[in-house]
């Protein structure tokens, strides 16, 4: 009986550490009050760095924990790294923003730590129950963060919208999970995989319906079309650092979860779910490229852009091969840098203390603030996938996988929508470089934001010099999923 031995905690060590840090910081903050906000933020970043170090030092060797509920492997290491970096960067960037907007509270970094813990559980989930627990831990923290600017009607609205639609999707997901459990009789990924591989064609339709519900629920979380409606509204309403956080970390975690569920237990059903993923992918790419064409608000533009990028990320999943997953993971890593950078510039859009959100406010930025314009230009060309920026290599690996898996049609749609999408990224470049200056932005940019912008711009532009580590890590991560 395995239940007599104490659970093996080592597989979940980073998650446990992070949860412990969140609790400790919560108590620390509660005792010290609002004065402690900055120190709590720095301590939160420090704990993220420590956890990151633990994750990286532990390496990608496969470990099972909690009787197989949690798995730690190279895949988890890769996505954990991205999520931890994303969270740390968000806390750093939110510090001065929150102070300027007078919403600085010590709960903010604590909530982000909790959300990150949830994401790490999602990424390592090896059981339907663990999957759901991780997802809800993340969601509950995020609902609060979305409405963190509680005196602003827009922020509250964003939080409420996110809560209602998130609750709906969680319900669908849960319904799907229970169907799967009902028809398969197990919640463990390993048992599910064995069952599906053994039964071959004789899979009960109930299981398929359950799978479709799970896909729909997860599509909500990664904001794939047609489950994307909440995205532009929430991104627009939430405080900017939170919007950025939504665009990166939760999306990465949910996508990692999506990949793990599809490949590990449901890998044998690839023929059944591929068509669903292909549809999601095509719909997201088309909507993501077309809907933003006339968008005047840059936060909404970034929301549509993220929807489009989900479409490209799903191409790799639809391929269902190690190459496909590798492509998706490379894309995720590059996506992190491009997005943090672009959102970082949006955070700098401030005039006389007021935040600006209109693209027109960037007019003539190349003359008033050449460095900032250059940085945003690099990020936009990267998002559009123009070489030699990193964004091109992201798309290259994705299309590579698509052609490898004989999804040529999908690849053609992908490249055509990327041309359409290039239009609206170029539109922002046009406003910055071709239009007459409309007024200067506030000059002082917080030192941490400056540093982040510099690093992300350099990485995005010069990725081609040293792509090895990212691609190597992604390849190891992808093959760990397929190793049996």
């Amino acid at each position: 009986m395995p239940y007599l031995t104490p659970p093996d905690l080592s597989a979940a060590l980073p998650e446990i550490l992070l949860a412990g840090a969140a609790m400790a910081l919560l108590i620390f903050g509660a005792l010290r009050g609002e004065r402690a906000t900055r120190s709590v933020s720095w301590l939160a970043v420090l704990s993220l760095i420590i956890v990151l170090a633990v994750v990286l030092l532990r390496g990608g060797e496969r470990r099972l924990g909690f009787y197989g509920m949690i798995v730690s492997d190279a895949f988890a290491v890769f996505v954990d790294t991205l999520v931890l970096v994303g969270s740390g960067v968000t806390i750093l960037m939110a510090m001065s923003y929150n102070e300027e907007q007078r919403i600085a509270r010590f709960e903010f970094p604590v909530l982000l730590l909790l959300a990150t813990t949830g994401m790490m559980v999602m990424i390592s989930a090896n059981d339907l129950i663990a999957l759901y627990v991780g997802l809800e831990l993340q969601n509950l923290a995020l609902y609060v963060v979305a409405s963190f600017d509680r005196d602003s009607a827009r922020s509250s609205e964003a939080g409420l919208k996110y809560f209602v639609l998130g609750g709906l999707s969680s319900g669908m997901l849960l319904y799907g999970l229970s169907l799967i459990y009902g028809f398969a009789g197990t919640t463990a990924f390993a048992d599910l995989a064995r069952l599906l591989a053994a039964n071959g064609a004789a899979i009960s339709p109930g299981l398929i319906i359950g799978l479709v519900f799970v896909v729909a629920g997860l599509a909500f979380k990664i904001s794939a079309v047609p489950f994307h409606m909440w995205t532009p509204d929430v991104y627009e309403g939430a405080p900017t650092p939170v919007s950025m956080f939504f665009a990166i970390a939760p999306k990465m975690a949910a996508l990692a979860l999506f990949i793990r569920v599809m490949i590990a237990p449901f890998g044998p059903l690839v023929g059944d779910w591929r068509q669903v993923v292909v549809f999601l992918s095509i719909a997201s790419m088309i909507l993501g490229s077309v809907a933003a064409i006339a968008q005047p608000n840059i936060k909404r533009l970034m929301a549509y852009s993220s929807i489009g990028h989900v479409g490209y990320l799903l191409i790799g999943v639809a391929a269902g091969t190690a190459e496909g997953i590798r492509g998706t993971l490379v894309y995720l890593a590059i996506y992190l840098f491009m997005n943090v950078g672009a959102w970082g510039v949006i955070l700098c859009m401030r005039r006389e203390g007021r935040m600006l959100e209109q693209i027109a406010d960037l007019a003539g930025l190349s003359r008033t603030r050449p460095a900032l314009a250059l940085a945003l230009g690099i990020f936009l060309f990267a998002l559009a996938g123009i070489p030699p920026t990193a964004g091109f290599f992201a798309k290259l690996y994705i299309f590579f996988a698509a052609i490898d898996a004989n999804l040529t049609g999908l690849a053609v749609i992908g490249v055509v929508t990327s041309v359409v999408g290039a239009f609206y990224y170029l539109r922002v470049v046009k406003v910055m470089y071709f239009d007459e200056p409309a007024g200067a932005l506030d000059v002082p940019i917080a030192a941490e934001l400056k540093g982040i912008l510099f690093v992300t711009a350099v990485v995005t532009l010069f990725f081609f010099l040293l792509p090895g580590p990212v691609i190597g890590g992604a390849a190891a991560a992808a093959s760990s999923l397929f190793a049996r």
Binding site: E323, R326, S366, R367, P370, F381, I386, P387, P388, F392, L396, F399, F400, I403, D404, T408, A411, V412, V415, V416, S418, V419, A422, F423, L426, V429, K430, Y433, F434, F464, P467, G468, I471, G472, A475
Partner: protein, 508 residues
């Protein structure tokens, strides 16, 4: 042969110059002055290096020379290598790129008055990408350069362009991007067939591609190159881009960017997809004939000088595509020479238009007339390049056109006849333009005070004129290196069509 990485030097030295310019700080006046001088010296050194390339080049060999190879990204069999090398076809395009960049920078010396620093950086970055395209021997590397060109050109048209610059910049960017992304997919498909992204390997193993696959790949490459050339009916971005671009931008557009399509056909389509090339030749011939005649007629009706020169470019490039797909050694050599010649002549014509624009700020033909009375030197220069454009014997234009017609005649008399009609049309619109601008009486008051060419402007035109004459009087200096490589490519293509039992298109 030298063992130092001369190709990498020529390619990436401009970036070093751009980095220097980026670091220039101080008063706006001083910054502009320093930026100009750094750009000038950088492009001078790069040009000198590319001349060294020509001197060291072994004209008898069809092999790639000055080869550099290093692994760039290796993963699970997907290796992208940093593989550079040139043959006789690419050699002169590199020289043309470095020369025209130098000339553009000099020509923009006084004209560009705001954001000088950014302008010079954009040109140097552009130079890196252009030279890189002609050196790259790895598909991914090639593609990175090929598409990278769009970014600086987009900014050059959009920032320093004319009235309607934004529309033109977008049209240019999106049009060409659409073509090149399809090529990217074809490149990936080639990788799955050959197991490498190495161009040299794919060139030597063209038999790996079945006829059915070749057709698709050929079409994907065609989408990209036809837009670049540009061939009728996907040419409409060109007149817009030219009219709005600043003079220096037009020079690079007409001189180099249009050649990327032709270069791509010669480098990839002919040797790699010979069966598809054979299959699609009638299509190319039809499109080329339409392009040559239709755009010549359109050029005849233009009232804007820049548009007229732009349409004449399309017509000349129609000649080039015809020559390339005639698939005879003479015609392909002629096409390469015609591209080089057109690179010099159209660049010079755009500079001529720029000289007038600089003085009167208009391209409208009707605003001029009788310039010969006030600007004799200018009238002479423009006469020389006009005659070169119509292919007067003794100029470079003649050599190219003659070889193309000679080579095409053996394949298709009809095509040759149609193209020859266009020669007549080209003489009409060029001389008609010349008469309206230079001759007739000087009536307008503001033309009375117009100044003739300054020494700086003369210095721009002299090297171009000398090259046009050299190429026209003693073309062998250029033809010798080209011939070996072209013969090799034609032999490869013919071997494949013979092996497939296809009848080679030629007169009985």
């Amino acid at each position: 042969m030298s063992h130092w990485p001369i190709l990498s030097l020529v390619t990436f030295l401009p970036l070093v110059g751009a980095a220097f310019i980026l670091m220039v700080r101080g008063e706006p006046e001083a910054v502009a002055r320093n930026a100009r001088w750094i750009a000038l010296w950088t492009s001078l050194v790069v040009f000198a290096l590319s001349v060294v390339l020509w001197i060291e080049f072994d004209p008898g060999s069809a092999q790639f020379q000055f080869v550099e190879r290093a692994n760039w990204v290796t993963l699970g069999g997907f290796t992208i290598s940093y593989h550079m090398g040139i043959d006789g076809v690419s050699l002169f395009f590199i020289l043309l790129s470095t020369l025209l960049t130098l000339i553009s920078i000099v020509s923009a010396w006084r004209i560009i008055q705001f954001q000088v620093k950014e302008f010079m950086i954009a040109f140097l970055v552009l130079e890196t990408f252009m030279v890189g395209i002609f050196c790259a021997l790895d598909f991914i590397l090639f593609y990175v350069f090929f598409e990278g060109v769009l970014v600086p050109m987009f900014l050059i048209i959009g920032i320093w362009g004319g009235e309607n610059r934004i529309y033109s910049a977008f049209k240019f960017f999106l049009y060409t991007l659409l073509g090149s992304v399809l090529m990217l997919l074809a490149i990936l498909a080639i990788y799955f067939k050959t197991g490498t992204t190495d161009i040299e390997y794919a060139l030597n193993h063209a038999s790996l591609f079945s006829f059915g696959l070749q057709k698709w790949l050929w079409l994907a490459f065609f989408a990209s190159f036809a837009i670049k050339v540009p061939m009728w009916p996907v040419h409409t971005w060109l007149p817009d881009a030219h009219v709005e671009a600043p003079t220096a931008g037009s020079v690079i557009l007409a001189g180099i960017l249009l050649k990327l399509g032709g270069y791509g056909f010669v480098r990839f389509s002919l040797p790699m997809f010979p069966l598809a090339t054979h299959y699609f030749t009638p299509l190319i011939f039809t499109l080329s004939a339409i392009a040559v005649i239709y755009t010549s007629l359109v050029a005849l009706a233009q009232t804007d000088m820049k548009k007229l020169v732009a349409y004449s470019s399309i017509a000349h490039m129609g000649f080039v595509t015809m020559g390339i797909f005639a698939l005879t050694s003479e015609a392909v050599q002629g096409a390469v020479i015609q591209m080089l010649s057109h690179g010099l002549v159209s660049a010079a014509l755009f500079l001529c238009v720029g000289v007038l624009y600089d003085r009167l700020h208009t391209h409208e033909i009707a605003r001029f007339g009788g310039l010969v009375h006030r600007m004799p030197v200018y009238a002479f220069v423009m006469m020389a390049f006009t005659l070169a454009a119509v292919g007067l014997p003794g100029t470079s234009g003649f050599v190219g056109e003659f070889l193309i017609l000679l080579g095409t005649f053996r394949v298709s008399t009809t095509e040759c006849t149609l193209a020859a009609t266009a020669l007549f049309l080209s003489v009409s619109y060029m001389l008609y333009l010349y008469r309206r601008v230079i001759f007739s009486t000087l009536t307008r008051a503001d033309l009375r005070g117009i100044l003739d060419l300054s020494p700086r402007e003369v210095a721009i035109f002299v090297p171009l004129l000398l090259l046009v004459l050299w190429m026209g009087i003693y073309p062998n200096s250029f033809l010798r290196p080209i011939r070996a490589s072209v013969d090799h490519i034609i032999a490869q293509a013919n071997a494949a069509t013979d092996a497939a039992g296809l009848r080679r298109a030629s007169l009985p």
